[in-house]
Subunit: 253 residues, 2 copies
């Protein structure tokens, strides 16, 4: 069995942020597997077979990719951003752990990509300049109290928080509840950023304060960044202010 499976990070969308490594692996694949809109980002190649699937079908998609690789195909599973951060990599390894023993002998390669939080941070200044965390706000796969506990722990300890999957058509109340909870801990002026489709033609980045942050600004293509109390804002004569998290934390006086 000489099958090969690569889980490839496409980055945030702009092809200028797709690594040469990812480009080479995508071009060499016999089969491309992934969520339809992500597959559409890969240049057409009539020698390749494409297997588009629906957004929510991660495990089925991983199993299809593994089965193709086990047949000796050279498979690339595409994933937005970085495949290891709330992308397809974890689903593939979960499918391997539950699947036939032969899958453990496959050659598997994970190709990193630029994760959304770094693309968003780059637009704003340096808001991830001190300790930070990434939390998926979805309660499809974990109980909501676990999400709540992680949000509280992160905000209390002073992490900047990047929220992935803040909302979807089926999940509308979670982000509002998260903001309400964070208002009990963080100052009202804490910056909250809604960044949608960063680096894509329809990019939109809005900065508000925590006390006025409304959950309606987010959808499934949005990343929400929540500052720490240490976050600094630099006003500019032209253009939006820069936001940065200082590297230093002062000693208590």
């Amino acid at each position: 069995m000489n099958g090969h499976l690569a889980i490839v990070g496409l980055g945030p969308g702009d092809v200028a942020m797709l690594t040469p490594h990812a480009q080479v692996v995508l071009a060499a694949a016999s089969d491309l597997v992934g969520y339809g809109p992500y597959l559409d980002r890969v240049p057409p190649n009539p020698a390749q077979q494409r297997h588009p699937s629906d957004n929510r079908a991660e495990i089925a998609r991983a199993q299809l990719a593994l089965a193709l690789a086990a047949e000796g195909r050279r498979v690339a599973v595409v994933s937005g951003g970085d495949p290891g951060a709330f992308g397809m990599a974890s689903a593939v390894f979960e499918a391997i752990e539950r699947g036939p023993a032969a899958w453990r002998a496959l050659e598997i390669e994970v190709i990193p990509g630029i994760s959304a939080m770094f693309a968003v941070a780059a637009r704003l200044g340096a808001p991830l300049g001190h300790d930070f965390c990434a939390i998926s706000l979805s309660d499809n796969l974990k109980p909501w109290p676990v999400v709540q506990r992680r949000l509280l722990a992160a905000a209390e300890a002073g992490f900047v928080i990047a929220l992935y999957n803040p909302a979807s058509r089926a999940r509308s109340w979670q982000l509002g509840e998260a903001f309400a909870m964070l208002r009990t801990i963080l100052p009202p002026e804490t910056p909250v950023v809604f960044a949608r489709a960063v680096s894509r033609p329809d990019e939109r980045v809005e900065m508000v304060r925590l006390d006025t942050a409304g959950a309606g600004r987010a959808d499934m293509r949005t990343l929400v960044l929540i500052g720490s109390a240490a976050m600094r804002r630099i006003e500019r004569p032209d253009g939006a202010p820069w936001l940065y998290a200082p590297r230093s934390v002062a000693a208590p006086t």
Copy 2:
């Protein structure tokens, strides 16, 4: 004033992980500013001026870059990994905030790169597949109790932890103390990964258990990854086991 300053993420080291965007910006610069070994990664160009500096001189380096840009030069400040994650971006904005007002009119661009934690995660499987955080273990810029508090909060809440700056010649005891503290919270078999120079020719990745993790394995080129209790290990007939963080958290029974 038409000066331009780009803060460019070089990724973990392998040029195949340097984005096309970063390559274009580096090639177009009149001046390259950065830590010497990072500058050495950029292909020579006799038309460019290079300004290498020492590892610890971030603010002075940022000020030099800003002063050059204010003279109308096209400056690229290089940073390992992603410039926004414990890289040069925060230092540049700190220098701007404290510096002359004219610096706020400069055109500043942050170019994302592949951060070390994603390059390391890709080697292992998908250890960042659920909520995770990144903490700089250095107490040069923040008091040690702040570091301790963040480590405890993250471990208690179930985050996977990526430790940047785990040790240096001048900081030898912090990592051992961090492990000791985490042993009071996390199971003894929690995986701990020491990943040094990932994607470079001298790459070395070691996986141990928390109960036997020794701080001596880390230096300033090492990233340390500490699993959560949920982390899964997949044994393989050939090669090192895969490590992944499941996307799901079971509801309490």
